[in-house]
């Protein structure tokens, strides 16, 4: 019996010692169980909200990414279209020796330019007429002017406002190809088409 009571006493003593050795801490543990639960709940709610926000943010980012990708894709497509339109617009036409009439095989190229100018009402262009080196230097300025005017007249007669088209003659002063044979000459007898304004977002016809 005595040993049991001693054990109890030891046990009590140990409990007291244990209690004493925990300092002030065990006291709040035992005195604030309700507060602790509320904080825990708050934490849980916060964490859920945070997770939700994170999911929302990711969703938004994804949406933005998709949207921006879509924009980029569409810009790229537009740019591709613009490049294509610009290339079609810049395609040169060519002339026979000492002639300024539009050749049959160039009418298609001019028809495409008509369509592009109709689809892009702000677009303005300059047509530059050029000659090969065989004619007289100064006469070629008049001939180059005729060549530029021929293309302009074609566009105007197909419904393009004449005010959107400037013309210019370079005579034989700006050969595209250096050379003194028919291959070079035939390439140099040409009209060039350049955009002077409204060429930023060209639409396909």
């Amino acid at each position: 019996m005595k040993s049991v009571s001693l054990l109890l006493a030891l046990g009590l003593g140990a409990a007291v010692i244990a209690a004493a050795s925990c300092g002030g801490k065990p006291a709040p543990q035992t005195t604030t169980p309700a507060v602790d639960t509320a904080a825990e709940n708050q934490r849980m709610r916060d964490s859920i909200a945070a997770a939700q926000a994170e999911r929302d943010r990711q969703a938004r980012e994804e949406a933005d990414r998709i949207a921006s990708q879509r924009r980029a894709d569409s810009a790229a497509a537009a740019a591709r279209a613009g490049d294509e339109v610009r290339t079609t617009l810049a395609a040169m036409i060519h002339f026979d020796l000492d002639k300024s009439n539009i050749r049959g095989d160039d009418m298609g190229a001019l028809d495409q330019k008509v369509a592009i100018m109709q689809a892009n009402p702000d677009l303005r262009i300059r047509i530059g007429g050029h000659c090969d080196e065989r004619g007289s230097d100064e006469y070629n300025l008049a001939l180059g002017n005729r060549r530029a005017q021929s293309a302009k007249q074609y566009l105007v007669s197909h419904g393009i406002d004449a005010g959107r088209i400037e013309t210019q003659s370079w005579g034989e002063e700006k050969p595209l190809v250096d050379g003194h044979d028919e291959s070079a000459w035939s390439q140099n007898r040409r009209d060039e088409f350049e955009v002077t304004s409204g060429g930023d977002n060209l639409r396909r016809p």
Binding site: D98, R134, S136
Partner: protein, 458 residues
């Protein structure tokens, strides 16, 4: 034997005559008249610091194509007086010949005239110095006396005005001999790689006169030789500018910049500039008063044809120009107010090639132009009175002729040497010489006679 060491220069040049390819029944228009040119001997002198002056004057007189220039070796290599071989030289004046021939003429002393007459000389030119004055003494051999003495205070060699002053001395000597002014004191403007350059008529002193990096074309001289006009590409248009030779100062012609204006040409009185303007309607001729900066006037209404490249007659009454009204460009003429337009240089419809680049000669008698012959260009001359044309060139491609003030020399572009460069032809002798040895030179414009600048500072 003394004669044997002489070289009679022009005999070598006759081989340069443009005489090939007379195969299409076309008369090549050189009229060579042998023997009509007077012989001229440049007296050799040693020292006196005038060697470069003598060399330049001798070359100028040679390039004038007015003389058979007889070149004597300088110095003591010959003793002309010791034993004249020609019977004509064994005349009355042998006694005075020693001093004359070995040292040339002393001022006031006589030459061995019979000797020089035996050499074929009609004139002897002696250039000496007295202090700062250079003295050119022209001896008339047949008259056995001094024809004229010209004195000049030349700038020092190296001075920018030196060469032109020597050229003027040569021109004065030429005028003393034959009574007509020379062309040594002239320059040629031309275009190379889009820039305007000037070069002296003897091929020296090439200078850039373009003042911008923009591409330029078609320089044209004012009749006073102090201004020139030219065209410059700018912002899709052709602008006409007037520029002072002395200062380089340039001004845009009023009303230019709205279209493609090109091929300017001054009226002889300097009041008017005629030019071509390319618009939607094609190319037409206009004039503007450049003194009053007003009064733009349209001279032609081409509609379906182009009119371009005007050139005034020296009396200012008429303008020759190019018109495409017959289909291919041909040479037309009209009154300076645009009335009375008519064909000028005859052509065979469907046969004759395109004709371009007319320039009226300073004496009014001829219009030079170029015409397509069998796919290449050749220089032609129209006789204004008879309205007949003759072909001047036949070797290679020859184009854009421009008259010297003597109306007998033309500068033009030719690829006869393998590349396009400037050449000068004398219409009387057919003698041809290159003006410069650089490829790509074109659109030459020969100046009037260049008098001395009115003031030394601009």
């Amino acid at each position: 034997m003394a004669v044997a060491v002489l070289s009679i220069v022009p005999s070598f040049h006759l081989s340069a005559q443009d005489t090939s390819a007379i195969d299409r029944g076309v008369r090549i228009g050189i009229v060579y008249r042998p023997g009509v040119r007077p012989g001229l001997v440049m007296l050799p002198r040693k020292g006196m610091g005038l060697d470069s002056v003598r060399a330049m004057v001798a070359r100028d007189l040679d390039y004038s194509d007015r003389f058979e220039v007889i070149t004597l070796p300088g110095g003591d290599s010959i003793r002309l007086a010791t034993s004249p071989t020609s019977p004509r030289a064994t005349g009355t004046r042998r006694s005075g010949s020693t001093t004359a021939a070995t040292g040339g003429a002393q001022a006031g002393s006589t030459l061995n005239y019979p000797l020089y007459q035996a050499l074929g000389a009609d004139f002897a030119l002696d250039i000496t110095a007295a202090g700062d004055t250079t003295i050119a003494t022209l001896h008339d051999i047949a008259a056995a006396g001094i024809r004229r003495t010209v004195r000049a205070n030349l700038p020092r060699p190296g001075d920018p005005d030196f060469r032109m002053a020597v050229h003027r001395l040569a021109d004065q000597a030429l005028q003393a001999a034959i009574g007509t002014p020379g062309i040594a004191a002239t320059r040629v403007l031309f275009v190379r790689e889009g820039k305007v350059y000037q070069i002296d008529e003897d091929g020296a002193d090439q200078k850039l006169v373009s003042s911008t990096d923009r591409q330029a074309m078609s320089p044209a001289w004012g009749a006073d030789g102090r201004h020139f006009a030219y065209m410059e590409f700018q912002a899709g248009k052709g602008w006409l500018y007037l520029q002072e030779m002395a200062t380089g100062r340039r001004t845009a012609v009023s009303t230019t910049g709205t279209a493609l204006d090109f091929t300017p040409a001054f009226s002889p009185d300097g009041q008017t500039l005629a030019f071509s303007r390319a618009t939607e309607e094609g190319t037409d001729l206009y004039t503007i008063n450049i003194k009053a900066n007003c009064c733009l006037r349209r001279l032609t209404v081409g509609r379906f044809s182009d009119n371009l490249s005007p050139t005034f007659s020296p009396d200012g009454q008429r303008i020759a120009f190019v018109s495409t009204r017959p289909g291919l460009p041909q040479i037309y003429v009209m009154a300076a107010d645009g009335t009375d337009q008519q064909l000028f240089a005859p052509f065979d419809y469907g046969v004759t090639g395109a004709s371009n680049a007319p320039e009226w000669s300073p004496d009014g008698q001829s219009v030079a132009f170029h015409r397509d012959v069998a796919g290449t260009l050749q220089v032609f001359v129209l006789d204004v009175r008879t309205r007949t044309v003759r072909q001047l060139t036949s070797v290679g491609r020859n184009e854009d002729p421009t008259w010297a003030p003597d109306s007998r020399h033309l500068a033009f572009v030719s690829d006869r040497s393998g590349y396009r460069q400037l050449w000068i032809i004398d219409l009387d002798t057919g003698r041809i010489r290159p003006l410069l040895q650089q490829s790509g030179a074109r659109l030459p414009a020969w100046s009037p006679r260049l008098s001395e600048a009115p003031s030394t500072t601009p």
